[in-house]
């Protein structure tokens, strides 16, 4: 639409407008500044809210000693499935907070507690006592009875939990999903490049 057809009305004389420009400009600047500050104040708690679970301090707190029950359930020379209720739990977690692990009793006071998760991509490994192997159903990772990597794509042996035996009960330190970045036992954390961590 041609500009000439519109007659500007009610616009102050140029001289008055020029005086008002600094104030208007200032209001715009102030407005932007206020909104930036408000936005940052608004965003910080939201980022903290969403990424709160990934704070290292919080996670370490969630790891705790938990009992797998009496040591008598795990006969010497055998490897058996044990389950525990995750120490960090919400009321609506349902079955997902029941975590399985493999307990290998070597001698009266010596055990190995393996995470269920294959070190390749976390699928549940299964123990075959006849051949003394753990096999993974996903991509065919295989481990020996002591958790050492036998074959397939896994980059290391099975993850192991730290354990202690107190009052005839077997305790493990657990509370976190085992991955290469979050191995349950720190003792093995720096051995990622080794084939076995037993």
């Amino acid at each position: 639409m041609p500009e000439t057809t519109r007659k500007p009305e009610g616009v102050p004389e140029p001289s008055t407008a020029a005086q008002k420009v600094p104030r208007r400009q200032m209001l715009i600047t102030l407005g932007i500044a206020l909104n930036v500050v408000a936005g940052v104040l608004f965003a910080i708690p939201l980022v903290g809210y969403i990424f709160g679970p990934s704070k290292r301090k919080e996670i370490r707190k969630e790891l705790s000693w938990i009992t797998l029950g009496s040591l008598a359930q795990f006969p010497e020379g055998e490897t058996r499935l044990a389950t525990y209720r995750n120490p960090f739990v919400r009321p609506w977690d349902g079955d997902t907070a029941n975590i399985p692990c493999w307990v290998r009793r070597i001698s009266p006071d010596q055990v190995q507690v393996f995470a269920i998760n294959c070190t390749h991509l976390g699928c549940p490994v299964r123990w075959f006592p006849q051949s003394g192997l753990f096999m993974c159903p996903c991509h065919g990772g295989v481990y020996y009875a002591d958790g050492a990597r036998a074959s397939g794509p896994p980059p290391r042996g099975l993850f192991q939990y730290d354990y202690k035996i107190e009052g005839g009960e077997l305790w493990i330190k657990a509370g976190e999903v085992p991955t290469l970045a979050t191995p349950p036992s720190q003792a093995c954390a720096d051995q990622l490049r080794r084939r076995a961590c037993a």
Binding site: G132, P154, L180
Partner: protein, 495 residues
């Protein structure tokens, strides 16, 4: 009739949308684009709209709680009227949408439509593809069953391979230290609020650009895209040989969308909803997790990649692939559009399609996964046992009991992780068999600690019988002169 017209006019006086809408609908497009090759984008849009509808319907009943989600899916499948059908529509709709988006992308690529001035339309399209795949993955998580649980475990394991920030990323993804209640809530928010909102916004921009820049004309060999002349040439084309989008181009979109919806309804009604499989109870370890159809290629790639380069490829590969797709129109934004003048582009496309299809097809029988039950459920076929000595038959029992069949097939049955054993005696001599069994090699674990000498003797005696009747077993040439007697009995019946 008159009343309807009056009411319509009343609204239009206030909304003033009638004229611009009509202009948009009737905007001229090149006659060549009123083609059946141009219907996949609109069909994707149609299916997306249906996904919104069925998704909202599911939210009426579905409970995004780790403890209850699986039960609410059972209620949807078994008790809610048409609950199974809505789930089925949503599940099949997801497959249809991924398929249509991929076909649309292949069409756009082969027609060179990503070139000037439609580079940004392509880039936005790449994000739409990623969001579609993201919806498919998060949707699989919301079907909170065993596969969803272990699928999350795989996701966590992949992310856990990131150097330095692996642990915080795993916890951010899971919303806590383990796969549990907050993981599901997190994926629910992503699947139901975040990605759909982004999808709507990006689809809006995508469509706006299609309107502003016009539908890509049918490419002709020799019609080269130049930044200086293209816009003018395109306008010339639509002016001289253009047709109104509605109805000339739109009717094929309309028909195809109708066919797609009917096909979707038919699939949903005939094949039913996907799962849920077993409940998400990690203590049930007798499970064989499998991803949904459109992620099977990834599952195959993860099994077949050389382990030492896996982490690098897992973390760098997607960045490079997505980066390349985004950069594509910026690298080759001008030049020929016709496929016959872009042999390298078309060949690359074919290689990608064939690779993805081959990986997907391989996943159908997953030769890299052991058959976890073969040792107890798949006996040695009788033909391998007929006429064998007691020692050899004992060896067959050892073969079953030691889970060899989980990885080795006999008579076409059993795992395919290792080679089939039907003719193993023609490849390995007795000594080599003993060494292979006890020490392992390649992908085979060593059985030295788990076989007694007697078991090994029996097992190898059985394995030495596994050769065709008319083919001699392998022998060690250096021993031929020393051991005069043949290694197998001449009267042994053929397997």
């Amino acid at each position: 009739m008159r009343l309807i017209k009056d009411v319509a006019e009343w609204f239009d006086q206030r909304l003033q949308l009638g004229k611009p809408l009509k202009e948009t609908m009737q905007h001229p497009v090149p006659r060549s684009t009123a083609s059946w090759a141009y219907v996949f984008g609109s069909a994707s849009l149609t299916v997306m709209a249906l996904q919104f509808v069925t998704g909202i319907c599911l939210a009426f009943v579905y409970v995004p709680s780790a403890g209850q989600a699986w039960t609410s899916l059972q209620v949807l499948n078994q008790q809610q009227s048409f609950g199974w059908f809505v789930r089925s529509l949503h599940g099949w709709g997801s497959n249809f949408m991924v398929a249509l988006v991929l076909v649309h992308m292949v069409q756009v690529f082969s027609f060179g439509a990503y070139k000037y001035p439609r580079e940004l339309t392509w880039i936005v399209g790449i994000f739409l593809l990623l969001m579609t795949l993201g919806m498919a993955f998060t949707g699989q998580v919301l079907r909170f069953d065993q596969d969803a649980y272990w699928g999350l475990g795989i996701g966590a394991s992949v992310i856990g391979r990131t150097p330095l920030v692996g642990a915080p990323l795993v916890h951010a993804m899971l919303g806590g230290p383990i796969i549990a209640g907050e993981t599901l809530s997190r994926f629910f928010a992503i699947h139901v609020f975040i990605v759909p909102a982004l999808l709507l916004a990006f689809v809006g921009v995508h469509l706006l650009m299609v309107l502003k820049l016009g539908v890509n004309e049918w490419p002709m060999p020799g019609r080269v895209v130049k930044r200086s002349t293209y816009l003018q040439e395109y306008h010339e084309l639509t002016r001289k040989d253009g047709v109104p989008f509605v109805p000339d181009a739109f009717r094929k979109d309309l028909v195809f969308s109708g066919v797609i919806i009917l096909a979707l309804v038919a699939c949903a009604a005939l094949f039913g909803p996907f799962g849920p499989k077993g409940p998400p109870d990690p203590t049930v370890v007798q499970t064989v997790p499998r991803p949904d159809f459109f992620f099977l290629w990834l599952y195959a790639a993860l099994a077949l990649l050389p382990p030492q380069m896996e982490t690098t490829l897992l973390l760098v590969g997607p960045v490079l692939a997505i980066g390349f797709l985004i950069a594509l129109p910026l690298i080759s934004g001008t030049g020929e559009k016709h496929w016959s003048r872009r042999p390298f582009a078309i060949l690359s496309l074919l290689v990608i399609i064939v690779s993805l299809a081959a990986l997907t097809q391989l996943s159908a029988y997953a030769p890299w996964s052991p058959d976890m039950d073969a040792w107890s459920s798949t006996p040695v076929p009788p033909k391998f046992l007929k006429g064998r000595s007691a020692l050899e038959r004992t060896g067959a029992v050892v073969l079953q009991a030691k889970q060899c069949r989980n990885c080795h097939a006999l008579g076409g049955e059993g795992g395919r992780r290792g080679p089939a054993l039907d003719t193993v005696a023609t490849r390995l001599t007795g000594d080599e068999l003993v060494r292979q069994v006890l020490q392992g090699r390649g992908n085979m674990p060593a059985y030295g600690k788990n076989l007694s000498p007697a078991e090994t003797t029996a097992l190898v005696a059985f394995l030495k019988t596994l050769h065709p009747a008319n083919e001699a077993p392998a022998r060690d040439s250096s021993l031929v002169g020393v051991v005069a007697a043949p290694q197998t009995r001449p009267d042994a019946p053929s397997p």
